[in-house]
Point group: C2
Amino acid sequence: MREVAILGIGQTIIDEQWEKSLREIGGEAALAALKDAGIPRAEALFVGNMLSPILNGQNQLGTFFSDWVGMWGQEAVKVEAACGSGAAAFRAGLMAVASGEIESALVMGVEKMSDKAGHDVTAALATAADADYEADQGVSFVGLNALVMRRYMYEYGWKHADFAPFSINAHANAMHNPYARLHEKISVEKFEKASMVATPITLLDASPTGDGAAAAVIVPADKVSSVAGRPRVRVVGSAAATDTIAIHSRREPLFLQAAYASAKRAYEMAGLSPNDMDVFELHDAFSIMAVLSLEASGFAERGQGVRLGLDNEISIQGRVPVCTRGGLKARGHPVGATGVYQIVEVVQQLRGECGATQVEGAQIGMAQNIGGSGATILTHILKAD
Amino acid sequence: MREVAILGIGQTIIDEQWEKSLREIGGEAALAALKDAGIPRAEALFVGNMLSPILNGQNQLGTFFSDWVGMWGQEAVKVEAACGSGAAAFRAGLMAVASGEIESALVMGVEKMSDKAGHDVTAALATAADADYEADQGVSFVGLNALVMRRYMYEYGWKHADFAPFSINAHANAMHNPYARLHEKISVEKFEKASMVATPITLLDASPTGDGAAAAVIVPADKVSSVAGRPRVRVVGSAAATDTIAIHSRREPLFLQAAYASAKRAYEMAGLSPNDMDVFELHDAFSIMAVLSLEASGFAERGQGVRLGLDNEISIQGRVPVCTRGGLKARGHPVGATGVYQIVEVVQQLRGECGATQVEGAQIGMAQNIGGSGATILTHILKAD
């Protein structure tokens, strides 16, 4: 497999974009990435999306977008792994370039969620769970995560307020990200008084969905050279792993086995360890997921991920800065697009483009994208040189 | 890119399988392919599916099935390109193995369509078209194909009955395929008297949908050797191309540009030409599509594809045998699974397992899978040695 690098990135604001269609939102990010890469088109297109068949009545997004962004005729396909669709599309594009089959891949993640009513979106999100054994029994996706959080609190003795730093950190960082969904600083008091969604998950534990798209251009690493002020960003680790789709089938429901396995493989591939990561864009769809991701990826012992927040280790100046652009919690979570946003944000950190939330001298960064409640997890490690 | 071969195949009957779930149908084909390959699991799973988010309330089919078929923990993803999803998943698996990233890929195509009412399925199938500019204006998917067929008849002067041989050939071949949806010989008279669906497309121009799954195991070619009675089947050509998603945007709506481009690339990759093909599993979702596929892939001049049927060139003994196991028309069209069925059937031909519809001495075969009305087209060429 030949090595690949990221030549360009693009993203749109995440919001309820009533005035724009699925087509326009995706196109905006894709064209921004191509422009940033300095090429008019790529050889193939890989689109990550989860809900467009249900919410937008549109399938075949590969061709839908190749047509729209000026890549008529080129190979194009959609990749789906629930909320892990973005990283899954990125990995598909990566393998296509790494195989030598193509010389450039445009990867985009896109989601347009605000055209339908809230209950429709809730039902659509439940398709990430097991339809027969979870969703059809009436549990929503946030309900499943609430069960996990409750169990974690019981098992390890943490209080709800102990999770506050994750939300506070994400909201603080999003203040400096113009693309973020939420620009609102929060406090421990606000966190404790937030409306309940599904006990013990409150509005400030849960990430807001939204309309948005992000994109990246992948090329062989030897086609890119570092220029002044803009290092070459290589993908030095890439791995995907799965768990059971239903949480009740897991031996250890509080351990993200697929995060562990995909991070382990990505570390081995890169010859790196958790200590080498200057930044970690993790999948904080719910604060409990941020904690479990840190534990399974080797940043904390089991049951102790919460402490990284309490000890301020997750801030920009901390040992493992997470959600540096706001994370899912405050940048927002346009589900099938999120994995590409994470990769774009790591590239921004490695390029030194993050202003007030720049991690000083960041050279190595990791992104971890989760589909379902830990069912599909992809880990990517990027390195600037 | 290293060369790959198909180590095992599996398929289920295509029918209204009321007694079986999406999970069971997909599992049956996957386990059959693993058994045929003689391995307990593959390193990664690639699932082709189009309608499960809409019709079955289930996303994340990669993990859904890796969990179910005994591949817990392994990498898994879903690939979607409307009715071209099966071949798109096959190509994704092929590139993953060809890249050297993994050593074995299980590819499956699956669709469970009979749990919902007919009008729900019709609406779901329309997601293959352009939602904004085609489907939302009220045209169904069969309606779009009817417009193309009508134009073709007008442009080149053919009568509806001239298309009969495609349907008759498919139905005749399906008589000998135990997995086929329809086992019913038809005649020119029956073809002419068939119920109208969308003028000029009748019930005998259109393929029946259904519940079904097919699967194949891909490994590096050097890991497979020919054994007595079972040749090694390599993938010598693989290409994907796209067209505009909406038919009205095409310069030549009667020419399948993406079939032309993907077939051309696959021929070049294989160092072969149309004349070398012993069998061609084409995408006869509608009889007009079979004709256009033959023309764009180099088997007939524009406007003359119909003649291949009239001259009996498409039969098992003809110059270019098509739909040798019944094609979409009679084997059936479980949309996202179809592309994998086609590849499985070409393997069956190259192994000499087709009994009464065996093409004598078949060594090279082609499969072409279409998403939307020609919007995404993938062509694969297989060769036995």
